[in-house]
Symmetry: C2
Subunit: 140 residues, 2 copies
């Protein structure tokens, strides 16, 4: 097993613990991300939901994506100016290889930050992003 990401049950618990309601839509949304190690967009999620929830509002998609992100259920990154989301990996710090075609991710167990802090002692480091892009074995 490569990953140890959040699962549907933990996610629904987080909702409950924070006073948010457990709706069928939310369960399906979380399932959608739980299934795969893959970054997906709001549009991907909308297309997944539409057949089962006729007339679902785009705003419901965005509101829940943000809620899930703020609760630590999802993590996100910008790819080509569009926000992409995936189930949060909840163990040790790591980075991702991201397939440009299907969004599949693979963990990279190496972070260069340790060696760099000394170069930046007059700066205030808040965050960093290290991502590798290309094509996964299935897409290449």
């Amino acid at each position: 097993m490569d990953t140890n990401k959040m699962n549907t049950k933990q996610a629904l618990n987080l909702l409950k613990q924070n006073g948010y309601k457990y709706t069928g839509k939310r369960e399906d949304m979380i399932h959608f991300f739980d299934k795969e190690n893959r970054y997906r967009t709001a549009k991907d999620l909308l297309h997944h939901m539409e057949p089962n929830y006729k007339g679902i509002s785009v705003d419901t998609i965005y509101r829940n994506l943000h809620l899930f992100h703020s609760l630590g259920i999802l993590e996100s990154t910008d790819l080509n100016g569009e926000k992409h989301f995936r189930m949060k990996c909840d163990h040790h710090h790591h980075h991702h290889f991201i397939c440009k075609n299907c969004g599949e991710t693979k963990e990279i167990h190496h972070c260069p930050m340790d060696k760099i802090v000394q170069e930046l002692d007059s700066y205030e480091v808040e965050d960093h992003k290290f991502e590798i892009y290309g094509f996964c074995p299935a897409c290449k």
Copy 2:
């Protein structure tokens, strides 16, 4: 001297070599980026141009940004879903610390990719992004 980035003269030569015209607007746009080691947005550039070029079209801004980028005059990155541009650094491969407040950049002379290729031999690696975010000495 920390950087060895492209300068205005080289940029204008690139335009000429590729059959593009040398206009006052383009010279000012390139000057705008040449002055600083800093990522700026299309809107930043538009605001810089407007006082001197009343009624300048936003499309002129975008078209020239893309032209400059395709000619290798500018490099770009997505920050908060918005494209940011800076003068291209034309020497050895490196990454940047980016100030979240003013866009100032500082070169990071360490790239982790060498050690990672072996982890990805069944993947096709095309590109990577390594950026550090925080506040520069002037902004922190």
